[in-house]
């Protein structure tokens, strides 16, 4: 059963087409990733789905509730964590949590089992003001507050942006456990390397969805052979490869260059090319280039 159904959503801000014909489904209990750079339209889509703004056209339902007609009921069923830290900085950890529990007509005790694991890490700082927490702790608190009413769908807008790798890793592990408890999670991120942590992902850029599938299938669908090259001076190698007629694309990838050829097996001479498996980032680049 689809927990989230989105059908032909369009949104325009003045001259800018923020979202173009977005349609997809998220299944019950799925961890779904919306992956794309800043300005791709992730936040706009989240706001439409959480009934915070209205789409120009198109329809969507969350948990069977229409996002426009049933918005009041909808707001009881969803948990939403906006992109920036949006708790009260001058209230303590405990006060924030109690406040949001009350806002959602519940108590911390009632759904404590849901947040227990996360909240235990915050417990030592119970009386500390939220503004004084570290980045990772803030994210955990925000997640607790978004979870406290046992939402059936959880929307997390860039929860790991600006958070250090240790906290990021912990955060994704928390999401995995929440998923096991049956909560459907829609999460957005600009980090391609987080894609593999999701069941299915949508790659999005300029308000358009480039591809939707499992990370595995997206990688399999990469249309070319991908090679890797490296040299002590990658920059001159890059410049040299760009000049070669056999080369289709060359991109820097850390200490390597990722290379595709115009004809997959027609390798240029005197360049060491090693065949590799493409990652999500390679796929994203390829999809962007196709456009």
């Amino acid at each position: 059963m689809a927990k989230l159904e989105i059908d032909g959503i369009n949104k325009r801000y003045g001259d800018v087409q923020a979202l173009t014909n977005i349609s997809f489904r998220v299944n019950d209990g799925e961890l779904f990733g919306l992956i794309g750079p800043d300005g791709a339209g992730k936040t706009t889509l989240f706001r439409i789905l959480t009934s915070l703004i209205l789409a120009d056209s198109g329809e969507a339902s969350v948990d069977g509730l229409d996002i426009v007609k049933d918005y009041k009921e909808l707001r009881r069923h969803i948990g939403y964590m906006p992109g920036r830290f949006s708790l009260y900085q001058d209230l303590s950890v405990e006060e924030n949590l109690n406040f949001f529990a009350t806002v959602f007509h519940t108590t911390v005790q009632e759904n404590y089992h849901l947040i227990k694991e996360i909240y235990q890490q915050l417990e030592p700082f119970r009386t500390r003001r939220a503004g004084k927490l570290s980045g990772g702790m803030k994210q955990k608190l925000a997640l607790c507050c978004a979870l406290i009413h046992k939402p059936s769908v959880l929307f997390l807008d860039e929860p790991t942006t600006g958070v250090d790798p240790v906290s990021r890793k912990e955060f994704w592990e928390m999401l995995k456990r929440l998923k096991q408890q049956g909560i459907t999670i829609v999460v957005s991120t600009p980090y391609m390397d987080e894609a593999t942590r999701c069941d299915r992902i949508a790659l999005i850029q300029h308000g358009q969805i480039l591809s939707i599938d499992t990370p595995e299938n997206i990688r399999k669908a990469y249309p070319k052979k991908l090679y890797r090259a490296s040299a002590p001076d990658n920059f001159s190698l890059l410049e040299r490869l760009r000049e070669l007629p056999e080369i289709d694309s060359v991109f820097l990838f850390g200490e390597y260059l990722h290379v595709t050829l115009k004809k997959d097996d027609k390798k240029p001479k005197d360049v060491q090319l090693q065949l590799i498996e493409p990652g999500i980032e390679d796929c994203f680049i390829d999809l962007l280039r196709q456009k």
Binding site: G36, P37, D38, G39, A40, S134, G135, T161, G162, V163, D164, P165, V166, S167, K169, P190, Y191, M192, D193, Q205, N234, F235, S236, L238, F251, L252, F253, G254, E255, E281, F284, I285, L288, R289
Partner: protein
Amino acid sequence: MNSVIQASQLTKRFGNFTAVDHISFEVAKGEIFGFLGANGAGKTTAMRMLCGLSKPTSGQGLVAGYDIAKQPEEVKKHIGYMSQKFSLYEDLKVWENMQLYAGIYGMNIKQIRPKIDEKLHQLGLFDERNTFVSQLPLGWKQKLAFSVAIFHEPQIVFLDEPTGGVDPITRRQFWELIYEAADRGITIFVTTHYMDEAEYCHRISMMVDGKIEALDTPKNLRERFRAATMDEVFYQLARKGREN
């Protein structure tokens, strides 16, 4: 080694809190040096000292040959700086921003005009020279901010978390600009907490709790920590820091 940055036992204390704790390292001319660490590890404080914006509590630092404690003004003249927020004026046009920064660094008007045109062509922004910065896409702003930061041909440019949130192609174009600048002999000092960004650097230092816990090439670090990615290297180091 022909080093442009030399830090020895550099320390900064705020009251009882030691933000930067006796760090020592050298950066060579034309090197891309990654300065990594979690939020609050002391990256920003260390970088501020190297830019001559903050006086070290103890220790020594030479940047572009000038003492950061005694000659901060000279240091500032010989470095470039670009931050996440781009330090561009959104309500000025592209060329106006370039002219402003050239003026700030004391270039004379006659030199500025042709140089701006040359730069604009190089960046592929010539047709956008009369566009307001607020209307540029994020990736272009980033390129512009970088070229403004190195407009006066500094010996070193400090990049403070430069490439968050852009798409993978734009990001690579940006790194190509960085490589190109390094190729010309400009030293690049990048702070970031995106670990995949670290892989682009020649050498990386990892800061944990005010100290440099590791300093090597990405490859050597991965081998030493038996990790597949820099993320894992960082994870191991930072966890160690937490347990302490």
